[in-house]
């Protein structure tokens, strides 16, 4: 068991989510930064679908009640095992009773913690991902215990490609309604530097500034994580993993999978530009 001593800002259990339930209106959920969660699992030789902890900015203080191995990936926040600083993307041996705590945030906004064999919390509709209106809680709570299978066996890492430094742009395909916009709006989307507003969470990221308003009618259509919607007032909203499955605003862009992961590492006041890339 992992015992939660302090819950941190927003810590949840995530895996690959519930994409098969999109037709029933269920948000996909799952790790916000898919690549980082995937790497944490690879380092321990886990399955891709194994559940990990998603840690947002202020980390939780955890106590491990049985021996295991852990690995962390994603943003870069200083962290300690029994007050000893530790490194990212390497297996870390954990003995019974050891505690994990946090220090300063150097970069990024989400860190993933994998445990050898994955977290074995309750599975609902094929996934362990916390998600609004599906799981009874959305974040870890103090005193909670999360089960895993204890092991002392040295993990055999699976390879993963090294990631390049992010260049400050989010790559996107033109969305299905992109061509209905005016030149001015196209220009604004491609040239503005945008800032992540304080309205950013697992459901969506709202960004500033607004672009020109519109009065397009939009029938309800399917959307995915990374769909950039434009409200009639000109606000751009980027849907994320816990977002709705259908939307009633024009879909002006669709972020690439990589860019959805990059966005997941951004937080309030971070800046970026869009780069529209050709479709296939």
């Amino acid at each position: 068991m992992i015992k939660v001593l302090k819950k941190g800002l927003y810590t949840s259990i995530q895996d690959l989510g519930r994409p098969h339930l999109q037709p029933m209106g269920v948000p996909q959920a799952g790790a916000m930064d898919r690549e980082a969660a995937w790497i944490a699992n690879r380092v321990l030789g886990n399955q891709d679908r194994d559940a990990v902890l998603e840690i947002t900015l202020l980390g939780p203080v955890l106590e491990f009640n049985e021996p295991t191995w852990i690995a962390l990936s994603g943003g870069d926040f200083d962290f300690f095992i029994d007050d000893q600083p530790q490194a990212y993307r390497v297996p870390i041996r954990i003995s019974k009773g050891q505690k994990l705590s946090w220090g300063k945030i150097n970069s990024g906004s989400r860190v993933y913690l994998a445990v050898k064999g994955g977290l074995l919390s309750e599975e609902i509709l094929g996934s362990r991902s916390y998600c609004p209106s599906i799981t009874s809680q959305l974040t870890l709570q103090e005193g909670m215990e999360i089960p895993y299978t204890p092991t002392t066996e040295i993990p055999i890492s699976k390879p993963y490609p090294s990631s390049k430094k992010w260049d400050g742009t989010l790559e996107a395909y033109a969305g299905p309604e992109f061509n209905l916009l005016k030149h001015q709006q196209h220009y604004q989307i491609e040239s503005f530097e945008f800032t992540v507003s304080h309205l950013n969470n697992r459901m969506a990221y709202q960004i500033d500034p607004k672009i020109a308003s519109h009065s397009l009618d939009q029938i309800t259509v399917p959307v995915l994580a990374g769909t950039v919607q434009l409200t009639p007032q000109g606000t751009l909203i980027i849907l994320m993993r816990d977002g709705q499955t259908t939307g009633g605003y024009p879909r002006v862009l669709q972020l690439t999978k990589k860019s959805v992961n990059h966005l997941a590492q951004l937080t309030t006041a971070n800046r970026f530009k869009f780069k529209i890339i050709t479709k296939f």
Partner: protein, 242 residues
Amino acid sequence: MTHFDLTYEAFCEDALIIQWPKRIEEAILFDISAFKIGLKALFPSAIFTASYNELMLRFPESISNFKDLIRQLEAAYASREKTTYKPHLIQIPVCYEDSFGLDLEEVCAHLKMDSKELIRLHSQTMYTVYAMGFLPGFMYLGGLPKNLHHPRKTHPRPKVPKGAVGLAGMQTGIYPNESPGGWQIIGNTPLNLFNRTQWPPTFVEVGDKIQFVPIGKDEYNLIRIQVETELYKVQKKELPND
């Protein structure tokens, strides 16, 4: 069988959308449903999300060649057999009595009709499920009679009860779970529109037909017990396609 002019468009690395003409029309929705059944057999691992005039196909891996896939889809649409889509009619019991119809009195006053007439109009119509979204198990229903169109509440409720049946503009619908919301609430269903502990978690799918059946409070309580003890069987039957 009408063949519509479809457009096929890459959406992202692993998804593609098929678009029908941008109209809200039952013939379009049923054509989507019919095509979806055929495509499910062709691509068993894909996820199909249908709504109004669009069908999204999402694959477990990135699509290696969109042009080939689109060619395959066009061929499947052109050569599909004359499969007429037969929608299911699902009957959903609703209690419109005072403790459930939170806004019933106000709505009746606004629409200038008595509650009997409102209940009759609301429950005699067969609605069509055009999309699911907003909340797990939430249905976008088309077909609300014009004289029941009613604006949303000026101040949304912080908590609309689970099962609440409401009106909003030209729509009617059911809150599958407690949620904030601005719909005018006229009744409540004892059924679970979404049950995360059973498979499938919902008994509705895009393309189904819905009819509300007025019930009294005693029957509501009885059905509620049957639902909780898993004895209740949802009334669902195949309709002939006209």
